[in-house]
Structure formats: structure tokens, C-alpha cells
């Protein structure tokens, strides 16, 4: 039986924990709103980009560009794994990492070499412990990244692809469906034909454009940017998902704290009552003894 003081201390410490989780919940929800706004603001750019690429793809022989070519033998795969920098967001990072590692395992079983590009501290730590090679790590950036980061990643991916370090690129990221739902998703980034064409060549009437410079020249400019756009979307989604997941985790934690405080208060009251009863018994017993 814990003493009264112990129970009281415990209640206070749980209450303090609750304050923290509640504050983290509010911070996460503010950050989530921010992240959602960024996704919203990015949408016009992405939409226009798809339109433009679609127009261009119709007028061009798309097979001319090296990024579009599907290699016959795939010897090495690069997985771009995007996670958060910080924990305390439920199973969010865990499920992303599990997905990436099982993908890596599958590819390795097919005899391919697997290399990682890690974004976020959790991805870096997980890959470091795994048997796979990390080509580069980008940690401590999820709090303040911009399109520049996507461009940097894009450059890395493209140069690695072109010089044959790997023959295909997959991205594992947390797709943001809604505040209540986030999905760990794998998306093929390179070669492009499997990734973007069906998105890009969607509907719309054909217009005859004049191109400057040539169609091939424009494609050479547009395609690398298309990769950046996809990577940026992955980053934005993961960041929004992270905050949504943390919000929910902290909400659960706050509720668990409430339950615990309830249970502890009950235990405290019981203990106090039993102390009072015992003391009363002593007094009554003493009084009886004096009488006798």
C-alpha cells in the first residue's frame, strides 16, 4: 500500500505531464494548419505544372530524354525515405520506416542493391542501424524546408540516376489524406515513364504550340523540375502528416493522463479513508480499554 504522500506526488506529476501533452497538442495543431496552408499554396503551381507538361508531352516524342528511358536491367534502387525529425507522434515514423525497410528487403531478395537517401532524423537513425547504405542524410530540416531542399534532393537523385549509381528511384513518404488519416505511401520517381506520364498526359484539347527553345530543350528543363515538384509534394505531405499524427498522439496522451488522475485520486481517497478508519478504531479501542 503506497503512502498518502506517494500517491499525492504521483497525481501531481501526472497532472504536469498532462499540461505538457496538452501544450504539444496545441503546438502541433497550429503547425498542422501551417503545413496545410503550404500544401494549398503549392497546389496552383503543381496543377499548372502538370498542365504544361501534358501539353508538351503531346507535342513531343517523349522517348528522347534519358530520364524517360526504362532500363532493361535494374541493378540498384534508391529509396528516398522521408520521415520527421522528432518523435512523439505515435506510430507515424515507425510505419514509414517499416514500409521502407520491407521494400528494401524485397528488392534485395530480387538481387538488387538498395541505397537510401534519408530525409529527417528518424530516417537517418533507422537506416544507420540497417544493413543498407545511405547515400546522403538530411536531418533537422523538417521544421524549415523550402523548395530549395526539393531541388537539392532532385539534383542528387537525377545525377545519381544518370551516372548509373542506381537505376530506379522510389520515394516513401506519409501521404496526407486528412487530419484523421495519413497513409504511408511508396511512389516511383524515376524512371519517369512509370511515374508521371499518366498524370501528365491527362485530357484537355490539343493546341499547337510554338516552342522556344526546341521541344527537347524544354523537356530537358521541365523533367528535372517535375521530379522536384514530386519530391516537394512528398516533403509537404510528410510534414503535414507528422503534425496530424502528433496531434492525435498527444490527444490520446492527454486523455490517458485524465484517466490516470481519476484512478489515482480514487486510490488516494481510499487510502485516506482507511487511515481515518484505522485511527478511529485505535481511539475507540483505547476508550473501551479505559472503561473496562
Amino acid at each position: 500500500m503506497p503512502s498518502l504522500r506517494d500517491v499525492l506526488n504521483k497525481i501531481n506529476s501526472v497532472k504536469k505531464t498532462k499540461q505538457i501533452t496538452k501544450a504539444m497538442n496545441m503546438v502541433a495543431s497550429a503547425k498542422l494548419r501551417n503545413a496545410q496552408n503550404r500544401i494549398e499554396r503549392f497546389r496552383p503551381y503543381a496543377d499548372k505544372f502538370y498542365d504544361m507538361l501534358g501539353d508538351l508531352a503531346k507535342g513531343a516524342d517523349a522517348s528522347v530524354h534519358p530520364l524517360l528511358e526504362v532500363r532493361e536491367t535494374i541493378k540498384a534502387t534508391c529509396i528516398v525515405l522521408i520521415t520527421s525529425d522528432r518523435g512523439l507522434c505515435g506510430s507515424f515514423n515507425y510505419s514509414l520506416i517499416a514500409m521502407a525497410l520491407s521494400l528494401a528487403k524485397k528488392l534485395a531478395a530480387e538481387g538488387k542493391t538498395v541505397k537510401f537517401i534519408c530525409v529527417g532524423k528518424k530516417a537517418r537513425d533507422a537506416v544507420r542501424k540497417s544493413p543498407y547504405e545511405a547515400l546522403s542524410n538530411h536531418a533537422d530540416i523538417m521544421n524549415s524546408f523550402d523548395f530549395g531542399l526539393a531541388s537539392k534532393l532532385g539534383q542528387e537523385v537525377i545525377s545519381g540516376y544518370l551516372d548509373g549509381t542506381f537505376d530506379e528511384v522510389q520515394m516513401v513518404f506519409g501521404q496526407f489524406m486528412s487530419v484523421a488519416k495519413q497513409l504511408s505511401t511508396t511512389k516511383a520517381i524515376l524512371p519517369l515513364s512509370s511515374a508521371g506520364e499518366e498524370d501528365a498526359v491527362a485530357s484537355g484539347p490539343t493546341t499547337e504550340y510554338i516552342y522556344e527553345p526546341s521541344v527537347e530543350g524544354l523537356l530537358a528543363e521541365l523533367l528535372p523540375r517535375f521530379i522536384n515538384v514530386q519530391l516537394y509534394r512528398g516533403l509537404l505531405d510528410t510534414s503535414a502528416s507528422e503534425h496530424a499524427a502528433r496531434m492525435r498522439a498527444m490527444d490520446n496522451a492527454t486523455r490517458a493522463c485524465d484517466d490516470m488522475v481519476g484512478a489515482l485520486t480514487l486510490a488516494y481517497n481510499k487510502a485516506r479513508q482507511s487511515t481515518i478508519t484505522r485511527e478511529l478504531m485505535d481511539i475507540v479501542g483505547g476508550a473501551e480499554a479505559l472503561k473496562g
Binding site: 499554396r41 503551381y45 505544372f49 504544361m52 493546341t207 522556344e212 524544354l218
Partner: protein, 141 residues
């Protein structure tokens, strides 16, 4: 006037910089500057680093753009740029510092300097300032 106007939109990954109906647009294409009036033939061009300017109600406005694409239709012009800043939003101090930095880097005789990048940075800084100056001289910034 309805058929004498173009809908100009400038979009970056971070936001919609500009969405307006204008009378004329001059764009810094990679193969030289081109002007767009209403009823232009469909045209798709890559953009270099430069100043886009447009005319509206007799005034000329300037927008700095770096790398991107312009898609022209008969009644619209869409610019997708990685960086785009309206002249009045340009941070002149930052541009000046960037210019100094780039110049210093170009002067260094050492292998660690990425000259191509420094040169691009310098060009960006100078162009930003020229956008600012041009806008000032026409009284739109």
C-alpha cells in the same frame, strides 16, 4: 476592352505571386526577351533570369523571375517560376549583400569555388536590383 486584355498569372511553389488582367507583358525568355499582346499564338518558352514587366492602365510594373516557364495562350499568360518577386517586395539590402558575396567568390583564385553558381548568384542579385530601379523610375515601387 475584354478582348484586349491578357490574364497574367505568376506562380511559385510557395504562392501565387500575381494574378491580374493586363495589357502587355514582356518576358525574359532563354532565347531573348519576348513581348506578348492579346491574341498571341500559343507559345511555350523557358525563362532565364530576368525581369518580367507588364503594362496596366498606362503604368509599367516589374517582377523579378529566376528560372521557369511561360505558357502563352490567346488571352492568358502563365508563368511558373521557382523564384518570383514583385518589385515592391524585393529586399534591396539582401540583393546588395548577395552581390558582394558573389563578387568576392568570383575574385578568389581557388578550386573550391563553384564559379557557375557564383555567377548565377551574381546575375540574380544584379537583376533583382535592376527590377527595383526600373520600378522606381516608373513610380510603381
Amino acid at each position: 476592352m475584354a478582348d484586349k486584355e491578357i490574364k497574367l498569372e505568376v506562380v511559385t511553389p510557395d504562392k501565387m505571386v500575381l494574378s491580374q488582367t493586363v495589357e502587355y507583358v514582356g518576358c525574359p525568355g532563354v532565347a531573348g526577351e519576348f513581348g506578348v499582346l492579346p491574341n498571341h499564338i500559343p507559345f511555350l518558352s523557358a525563362l532565364g533570369i530576368g525581369n518580367l514587366h507588364y503594362k496596366k492602365a498606362g503604368k509599367t510594373f516589374y517582377v523579378f523571375v529566376a528560372g521557369g516557364f511561360a505558357e502563352v495562350g490567346p488571352d492568358r499568360l502563365t508563368v511558373l517560376a521557382e523564384v518570383a518577386e514583385k518589385a515592391e517586395d524585393i529586399d534591396i539590402e539582401r540583393a546588395r549583400k548577395a552581390e558582394d558575396r558573389a563578387r568576392k567568390r568570383l575574385e578568389q583564385q581557388n578550386d573550391n569555388v563553384d564559379f557557375a553558381r557564383a555567377r548565377v548568384a551574381l546575375q540574380r542579385a544584379i537583376t533583382r536590383m535592376s527590377a527595383m530601379n526600373a520600378a522606381k523610375s516608373t513610380g510603381t515601387a
